[in-house]
């Protein structure tokens, strides 16, 4: 795989490891197929996806239109972000245009449940090979609102060359203390490089904080859905982040800024990334040959003495159709999209954690190519659902919490800020 110097491959390909057509289907799933009555009745099905899920959606469309001649599956996949997708869905609802299937980012699932009319789904209709440990991630208030399709979590990528020069063993990067110690040694080694970068924009700061707190056993949302930011764990997490910020400017977005700084410009020794972006990044670094470096990745560190309990990110498939028959067909579409083949293709293009065990097996070549990815599959059992904030204004919480974390990283008093964050969170979820 490591081609060395040679000719530069097309980077647009190197950035998307593989993109191949996938076959969707529900043949092996009992009860997933819509009833003949509904199949005859339903003529169109609308599916909403964000742009990067276009290929996935097309697999489902191909299958369903073949399985039900006369049916048209309309794919709306022009929204670049989940928020834009919600805007489209909302506009359509106002105009009386119904959606049948939609992709929802985990953090907007509560909105789907409360506002957009997402239907409860039956996990029993899933394939046997579907990784049942993932299903809780699609629940809101105990109801199965979505079936997770692409699941990711946080990772720490590192520049092995730099670490070795500083005498750091990557194996020590399992806890925050280890990371700080490594950062200190990198700094002390006199290399012109920022030791660590943890991007904070777009809600990532909340995710990071939650991830750390969760590794201490106490995520920032309790089981009743209430905020819990004034815990020692949250405090410890905040302290770590504040410390990290002292090593230099932290990026905004991991993909458009953090990863380029790490992988292209070699400005940072360690950076937080999502698993989904890892494969592309690693491959790009490899393809640089001489100018590249040895890159590694580990699951995001835990608090000292903590255990890996990573907070999941990603998206789930939801059914918004209310009509019985539309719902049946929509469900069939959802199930078809969870076919191992589709999961494989989707994971190959973006290194999400596969939600299907059969797919996992078939992804062996990918993991051989990027052994760094393998470790993340072990996290599946311990994945924690992202917070789903209720209340009229819960939707604003991820951004609000992220802002509080940014404040802490900017040097604000930790206790005061966390207290303020707690108060704000309580106010918004009321």
């Amino acid at each position: 795989a490591c081609s060395g110097g040679g000719s530069t491959p097309d980077p647009s390909e190197s950035l998307r490891p593989t993109a191949r057509p996938a076959a969707a289907g529900v043949d092996d799933v009992a009860g997933a197929k819509a009833s003949p009555r509904c199949a005859a009745q339903v003529k169109t099905l609308r599916m909403y996806a964000v742009a990067n899920l276009n290929d996935v959606a097309r697999s489902g469309k191909a299958y369903l239109e073949k399985a039900h001649p006369g049916l048209t599956v309309e794919i709306v996949a022009t929204a670049p972000t989940y928020t834009a997708l919600v805007q489209q869905l909302s506009a359509d609802r106002s105009a009386g245009q119904r959606a049948d299937v939609a992709v929802a980012g985990f953090d907007v699932l509560p909105t789907f449940a409360a506002q957009l009319g997402a239907q409860e789904l039956s996990p029993r209709l899933l394939r046997a090979s579907y990784d049942q440990r993932m299903t809780p991630l699609g629940q809101v208030g105990g109801r199965q609102i979505g079936i997770p399709q692409q699941v990711s979590t946080l990772a720490l990528a590192y520049n092995l060359d730099v670490l070795e020069r500083a005498g750091v063993d990557p194996a020590t990067l399992t806890t925050t203390d280890g990371v700080i110690a490594a950062a200190e040694r990198i700094r002390a080694s006199g290399q012109d490089i920022q030791p660590i970068d943890i991007p904070t924009g777009q809600g990532f700061a909340q995710w990071t904080l939650n991830n750390l707190a969760s590794s201490g056993g106490v995520p920032i949302q309790d089981d009743a859905g209430r905020p819990r930011l004034n815990t020692p764990q949250a405090r410890a997490a905040a302290q770590f982040l504040a410390r990290v910020a002292s090593y230099g400017p932290q990026s905004d977005s991991p993909t458009s800024q953090g990863l380029p700084r790490f992988g292209i410009r070699k400005e940072t020794a360690m950076t937080m990334v999502t698993v989904a972006t890892l494969a592309g990044g690693l491959r790009f670094i490899q393809d640089q040959g001489e100018r590249g470096f040895r890159a590694g990745a580990v699951p995001f560190p835990t608090l000292p003495g903590g255990t890996q309990a990573p907070v999941a990110g990603g998206n789930a498939l939801t059914v918004l159709a209310e009509d019985q028959c539309q719902r049946e067909m929509a469900t069939e579409l959802v199930v078809s999209l969870l076919a191992p083949d589709v999961i494989v293709a989707s994971t190959e293009s973006l290194s999400y954690l596969p939600v299907d065990t059969e797919a996992l097996a078939r992804l062996e070549p990918l993991y051989r190519q990027y052994p760094q990815l393998r470790a993340f599959n072990d996290l599946a059992p311990s994945l924690v659902a992202p917070p789903s904030w209720g209340g009229a204004r819960g939707g604003e919480l991820p951004q609000a919490m992220s802002d509080q974390v940014v404040r802490i990283m900017g040097g604000a008093d930790i206790d005061q800020t966390l207290a303020a964050a707690q108060a704000e969170a309580e106010a918004l979820t009321r």
């Binding site: 805007q87 905004d252 204004r393």
Partner: protein, 315 residues
């Protein structure tokens, strides 16, 4: 009688002429604005269909919303940082470009570019010009004068000024275009008179060029302010209003409230309504004041209409 039929005919003619435009404006701007004014009194969410009338709750919230307060402050700062410098720079550039003999098309083309560019496309470049890295272009430039690298867009102290800089970059180009047009409309004979009179250099600029550009400046003041108040994309693509809402302008705040987070379109509409009312009131006051001033000035001299009468009396 005749007057009336004439007025009646003109009335029908006017109606026929303005109807297409009015239909467009009513259906797609005024109507929706009215709907939104209604929604401003409800707790409607963008995402939901159900809503309740909440009376003045949104208004009360807006009046005590610290985030809105900050957005207003940010907007004022943004306006201050973009409007005045871009008007001044645009004017100076137009003056300079107007006086060069050769290469004028090149200069004009280059300076038209920013106004014509797609800001969404330009954001990619600007984000990296203002990258936090010491190698970033902005940091390289300030490094020349010994300033430490800044996290331009990631620091709540610099984000708004940088956004304003990018906005100003575009706005300057727009102002340049308009002033250049204004300059070409000044009759050359006035300049020649000044030349013979010996009114030159700065005196000419101050006493002749600037006053004669007065109407253009008024036009610009109105348009630039409207453009600036509506600034959305520049903020959206560069900072998303951050960090810590430090670059959230009113329009962007309206977007944030109504189109993201918890999608509170009701409250967003209230803010939009307040903005509209405020600007219309300011505009109306300005127009009224302008009329007063003009009337006062004409009183000081003599009304224009008196001239022919006086002329007749002289004979």
């Amino acid at each position: 009688m005749a007057e009336r039929t004439r007025a009646g005919r003109d009335g029908w003619r006017a109606a026929a002429l303005v109807t297409p435009a009015l239909v467009g404006l009513c259906v797609f701007v005024i109507g929706p604005a009215a709907v939104s004014a209604f929604v401003a009194g409800t707790d409607k969410k963008l995402t939901g269909v159900d809503f309740h009338w909440v009376g003045t709750a949104n208004l009360r919230e807006a009046l005590s919303d610290p985030d809105l307060g900050r957005a207003v402050r940010n907007t004022l700062v943004y306006c201050l940082l973009t409007v005045i410098p871009s008007v001044v720079l645009g004017l100076l550039l137009a003056l300079a470009a107007n006086s060069v003999a050769r290469g004028r098309p090149v200069v004009r083309f280059a300076l038209f570019l920013p106004a014509s560019a797609n800001i969404v496309a330009m954001a990619v470049v600007f984000r990296y010009i203002f990258d936090a890295s010491p190698d970033g272009l902005a940091n390289t430039l300030v490094g020349v004068v010994g300033v430490d690298p800044q996290n331009w867009l990631g620091d709540s102290d610099t984000a708004l000024p940088v956004v304003a800089l990018v906005g100003g970059w575009r706005l300057t180009s727009f102002v340049f275009v308009v002033y250049l047009a204004g300059l070409t409309a000044i009759p050359p004979s006035v300049y020649e008179a000044a030349e013979v009179d010996g009114v030159r250099g700065l005196a000419r600029l101050r006493h002749i060029t600037l006053p004669l550009l007065g109407p253009t400046t008024v036009f610009l003041a109105v348009f630039v302010t409207v453009l600036t108040l509506q600034t959305f994309e520049t903020v959206a693509v560069l900072t998303d209003g951050g960090p810590l809402d430090s670059s959230t302008t009113i329009i962007y705040y309206i977007y944030q409230v109504g189109f993201t987070g918890s999608f509170r379109i009701g409250y967003a509409s209230m803010i939009a309504l307040l903005l509209l009312v405020t600007v219309v009131l300011i505009g109306a006051a300005g127009a009224l004041l302008g009329r007063r001033l003009r009337v006062a000035r004409e009183d000081a001299g003599a009304p224009a209409g008196a001239a022919p009468a006086l002329e007749g009396a002289r004979r």
